[in-house]
């Protein structure tokens, strides 16, 4: 039962990682609106499971719940999504923070597109490492993979990213997701 003190403890230990949770969901789902819903759902799940969290790495604990919630969501929505073509009209680039856009211009657009064209597992590990700054140990914990495989998985993901950056206009690459 989470009451009073535990609830405050949840707000103090888990909710500070809300940005990390949202950022991971946004990149896994490639969409801010869905990411908002799924992050909220993941935080509710985390809250219900908080009884099982004692101490340790709260960020990794929350991110693990977020990625599992995302993958469940993706599985449920994949059927529906397969009927839709992935292009700019059905999937607008929803990075609508004008300040960010102004700051980074076309590099940002290009990288966003390249990153979004990668398979989920590659996108996930790149976001955790490059954007979230997670250690290999944390990545292993969040993605439930042996720590010994993190380095080679990152090597493959980075190679793919460079590959898709070198052919940004290839529609094939984008559909191959």
């Amino acid at each position: 039962m989470l009451e009073g003190e535990d609830r405050a403890r949840f707000e103090a230990t888990v909710l500070p990682h809300l940005d990390a949770a949202f950022n991971l969901a946004r990149w896994l789902l490639r969409n801010r609106t869905d990411a908002e819903d799924v992050t909220q759902d993941a935080v509710f799940r985390a809250f219900r499971a908080f009884g099982t969290y004692r101490s340790g790495n709260a960020r990794a604990w929350l991110l693990q719940i977020v990625r599992n919630t995302c993958f469940t969501w993706l599985r449920q929505n994949r059927m529906a999504a397969e009927f839709m073509e992935f292009d700019e009209t059905t999937m607008p680039q929803e990075s609508q923070n004008p300040e960010m856009l102004a700051m980074a211009g076309s590099d940002r657009e290009q990288l966003t597109r390249a990153l979004e064209s990668l398979p989920e597992s590659f996108r996930e590990i790149l976001v955790l490492r490059e954007l979230e700054g997670c250690s290999y140990k944390e990545i292993a914990e969040i993605t439930s993979r042996p720590i010994g495989t993190v380095m080679s998985a990152l090597a493959r993901a980075r190679a793919q990213l460079r590959n898709s950056l070198s052919q940004p206009e290839s529609k094939e690459a984008r559909r191959a997701v």
Binding site: M1, L2, R7, F10, E11, A12, T13, L15, P16, H17, L18, D19, A20, A21, F22, N23, R26, W27, R32, E36, T39, Q40, V43, F44, F47, R48, F50, G51, S55, G56, N57, A58, R59, A60, S95, N97, M100, M103, A104, D107, R108, L111, T112, L115, R129, E130, L131, G133, S135, Y136, E138, M151, S152, L154, A155, R158, L161, R162, L165
Partner: protein, 252 residues
């Protein structure tokens, strides 16, 4: 070192995840392998452009508001129905518990509790967490060191060194007073990409525990002494970033 092995290690090297021996071996290999040297440069360039592109997207305020400061929004937690267990089973459970507790007690007697440095770090990580709650980050919000530094005058009995490192990727966001270990300390707030770094400063004590580095609750901390001050930087950024900020503060 054969080259295909080095190609994977290159990433561990780039991410600062190799142990000292492997890193030294890799560097030795680099000297003789132009291919790896070139790949490393390309990977570094990619890393830089990702960092510069500002891809991190923070949670929208609407989401934050719906979760924070409004605990009613969080659903009630299911309570589990009490199980029916016969009394003799409870006796068995009690025996097991007694055994476990005595083992634990023996363990406790032989192992030391958390060190003073760890306790210090835990209290500063708590202060860092508090500062991330809405409206708690800064008492004086300014990117101008000449505004932040004088703000501390009269509020605290020392003048913490304040500098903006925006040109090096660590813009100053402001300052604040905080309490750690029962004492008032100065907190300087820096940004690193989309992350927040708190640098806590206090007058160096003769036996200060602000030393070392570590990790607590998913946050990194790095503490050191310099010029009669104790510093401790706390953040969720990777530890090399904290080390870089330490260097900037040391050479200011």
């Amino acid at each position: 070192m054969p080259c295909d092995q080095a190609q994977d290690q290159l990433h561990g090297y780039l991410d600062g995840e190799l142990d000292a021996l492997s890193a030294a071996n890799f560097e030795k290999h680099l000297e003789t392998c132009p291919d790896c040297k070139q790949t490393l440069a390309a990977e570094e360039a990619l890393h830089q452009s990702i960092q510069k592109a500002n891809l991190y997207e923070r949670a929208p305020d609407s989401l934050r508001k719906s979760l924070l400061g409004n605990p009613q929004q969080l659903p009630a937690v299911r309570s589990f129905p009490a199980s029916r267990v016969s009394p003799w089973r409870w006796l068995a459970v009690a025996a097991v518990l007694l055994f476990a507790v005595s083992i634990g007690w023996l363990e406790l007697r032989t192992t030391r509790g958390p060190s003073e440095s760890q306790l210090m770090a835990a209290s500063l990580v708590d202060a860092h967490l508090r500062s991330l709650q809405p409206g708690h980050l800064t008492d004086v919000e300014s990117t101008d060191q000449h505004t932040v530094k004088p703000w501390f005058d009269g509020r605290i009995d020392f003048a913490p060194p304040v500098r903006d490192f925006a040109n090096d990727g660590f813009p100053l966001l402001g300052g604040r007073l905080d309490v750690a270990g029962g004492k008032t300390v100065a907190a300087l707030v820096y940004a690193r990409r989309k992350h927040i770094i708190n640098v806590f400063v206090e007058k160096a004590q003769p036996e200060s525990y602000w030393n070392g580095a570590g990790e607590a609750q998913g946050y990194h901390w790095l503490a050191w002494q310099e010029n009669g001050f104790s510093f401790c930087a706390v953040s969720d950024v990777a530890s090399p970033d904290l080390a870089q900020l330490k260097q900037l503060i040391l050479t200011q």
